[in-house]
Symmetry: C2
Subunit: 115 residues, 2 copies
């Protein structure tokens, strides 16, 4: 796997980027709206990840000169093109949720008895 | 996005899991072989991620009683089913590599001139 692709895969395969793409798939949202939609992300991590995605051309940051000024984040065309593989990942997660839960239970049971 | 799916998406969308699936897609490998294939992952992160993937039923860990004993990691049937969406992500990365590099250059240029 060549280095640039590995780097991009590490970005787009990054769980926060995946969750941000899902959170922005239906249109622009503000910082706190994205944070609430994901729930488990810190202020710092969301700031860093949004900046990285902006740098990669996946997210557009727009300052709206209202009083007080408003900042919207939205997927660019490139960002929207990432939705398809990310949604495939989401569908996979939904389809296999039960099997993963069962595997976790079995693993925890084995680990518990090994202690 | 309901909580369990978000949790699984955070796992399978986790960059290290994505890179491990890619590293194991052609068959079992030893710990250090996986580490070399990914390159940028720490010993601790690889250990944690492999354990998490084993718990989720995505990876099977096999101890081979040779002298010295050998430990192989391979994708389970569930893990192999994750290859398709992960490879879609990889193809997306390859297809858009140039556009992302261009966006990064423009962003860095803008940030540089803003300082």
């Amino acid at each position: 796997m060549c280095w640039p692709v590995r780097q991009i895969l590490a970005r787009v395969g990054d769980k926060w980027s995946v969750l941000i793409v899902m959170a922005l798939r239906n249109g622009p949202r503000r910082f706190n709206e994205i944070k609430r939609a994901i729930g488990t992300i810190s202020q710092r991590m969301l700031t860093l990840t949004l900046k990285g995605m902006e740098r990669d051309g996946l997210v557009r940051r727009t300052v709206i000169p209202s009083k007080p000024p408003r900042v919207d984040y939205e997927l660019t065309e490139l960002g929207h093109s990432l939705r398809e593989p990310v949604e495939q990942l989401g569908l996979w997660a939904i389809e296999h949720e039960a099997r993963i839960a069962k595997a976790q239970e079995a693993f925890d049971g084995k680990e518990g008895s090994a202690r």
